[in-house]
Amino acid sequence: MKNRTVILPIALCFLLIVLSVFHLTTGDLNFSFSTFYNSIFNYNSANSTELIIHEFRIPRLLIAMIAGSGLAVSGMLMQTLFNNPLAGPYVLGINTGSSLFVACSFMTGIPFLTHDFSIITSALLGAFIFGLIIISFSSFVRSHISLLLIGLMLGSFTSSIISILQTNSSSEELKSFTLWTMGSLQSVSFDQLPLILLVFFTGLFLSLFLIKPLNTLVLGSQASRLLGINLKTFRLACIGITALLTGLVTAFCGPIAFVGLAVPNSTRLLFKTQSHGILLIGNSLIGACFLVCSDVLIELFEPYFHLPINVFTSIIGAPIVIYILIKRLK
């Protein structure tokens, strides 16, 4: 038992490093370690290799890691909060909430609202509001499956509103928004990374404070209340952090499906524990590995056909959901 919790994270870190090296070196570009070092700390835009590494490879790698970790941790929070292994930011419509708010700020066409910071803010706000909607539904919908159906319906309802917005917008706005919805790890630039890293680590840091209530919540909400946990505060905090992480990822990469659902389930199976401190580490690492690995595969397929990240994760994620459903309902 103890071995698992020590060896697995180390192995996963190692795997992540290997995958990162693969990720950075896929393609025709050959470079030495010193070029790589220079491109970060000694950047010279006249050198085309450094330019490619600095402007494309590094941001893409980092955002893949952050998106994977962020969504996996959000998924874990949602699954324990709703006591439902099929919950996740995407199936519960929280991503779509972000999309709606981002769409609104794109469609207004006001330059201020299409700035990075405004996009993040609206994505966060959308995720948070939709999180609150789902939580208020969950108080009177007891069945797990029903809550998911409500989440999915909320998602498609919101998607329709987004479509209405799209048909009534100018071609310029439509283009930038449509590109955004395809989900992409390529739209982040090096200069945006500090802000993204700051928000991401804030989210991870804050989730440390949820470990204790999460651990008790696996016994059910009544039991954790009787152990002295203030559920109201906890639920709000949980939704807040999920909104922060999901909103961040959605703002920069578009809606990415199923990572938040498939990764936490796999993590639990792999680590065989309900200790959320360990699961938090596990989810961050496995989420990062999963998305970096997916992106390496996408890069390898690139010469033959273009695969948006959202499509790829759905192809892998949907069968996993079906598998869990069958296992649960049996």
Partner: protein, 236 residues
């Protein structure tokens, strides 16, 4: 330990009332009543999830309503009749959760917490179960673990909602005898609900029942089966 005085208990409309009942340390009480009489409502009230419609309840000479969430968790522990345990929750991790009201923000167990957990594990002789998963235990074993966790919570009051439901005769006997013993040795005030009339009449001599005619919670000693059936279930 628990003092109920001139209370009415219920959700929006009163289910039953209580004149004056004192539940003492080192004693065990069986709560008997038909379905829907208000046994669960009484537990909800005693765990401060529901307030009394009128009157006050004091636990450890402090009014129940004045307790904060964390404080009441140090006074009253509650064992639910059946909990669904998730996959991969080990007995060891489950028992540690009993210390939740005492641990810091991150839930880290202090040296003292480890000692208490160790003491209870030794006391109940459940060492062999520690690495096992909760959902793989039998119903009887799970009930023992739930009681162990409640003991680890170190509360003077221990409430159990039908601890013998879902168990076979041997295990029911074992649990009740075990609770009886704990009440004395650990100086607890134990109140449990049960539909196991025969077993309770045999083992327990203090009963709480909800008198169906008067809609009142009554504390009685050494009842006969007939008297209990008549008053609590309106039979005969």
């Amino acid at each position: 330990m628990i003092h109920l005085k001139n209370c009415t208990i219920g959700y929006s409309s009163p289910l039953f009332s209580i004149d004056d009942i004192l539940l003492k340390k080192g004693s065990i009480y069986a709560l008997i009543g038909s379905n829907g009489a208000g046994k669960s409502t009484l537990f909800s009230t005693l765990t401060n999830q529901l307030s009394t419609l009128s009157g006050t309840i004091t636990i450890a000479s402090q009014p129940l309503q004045s307790y904060k969430l964390k404080e009441i968790a140090k006074k009253v522990s509650f064992v639910q009749s059946k909990t669904d345990y998730p996959d991969f929750l080990t007995v060891e991790a489950y028992l540690a959760l009993g210390r939740t009201p005492y641990t810091n923000t991150f839930g880290r167990l202090a040296k003292e917490d480890h000692e208490i957990i160790k003491h209870i594990i030794k006391r109940l002789k459940i060492e062999e179960f520690l690495p096992k998963f909760m959902h793989k235990l039998s119903d009887g074993e799970r009930q023992i673990m739930a009681i162990a966790s409640a003991l680890i919570q170190e509360t003077p009051v221990l409430l159990l909602d039908e601890p013998t439901a879902f168990l076979d005769y041997g295990n029911r006997m074992k649990i009740i005898k075990f609770l009886k013993e704990i009440a004395v040795t650990e100086e607890k005030c134990i109140l449990f609900s049960s539909h196991d009339l025969e077993l309770c009449l045999e083992e327990i001599n203090q009963f709480l029942y909800i008198d169906q005619a008067e809609k009142k919670l009554i504390l009685a000693n050494d009842l006969t089966k007939e008297a209990l059936l008549e008053r609590a279930f309106n039979l005969y």
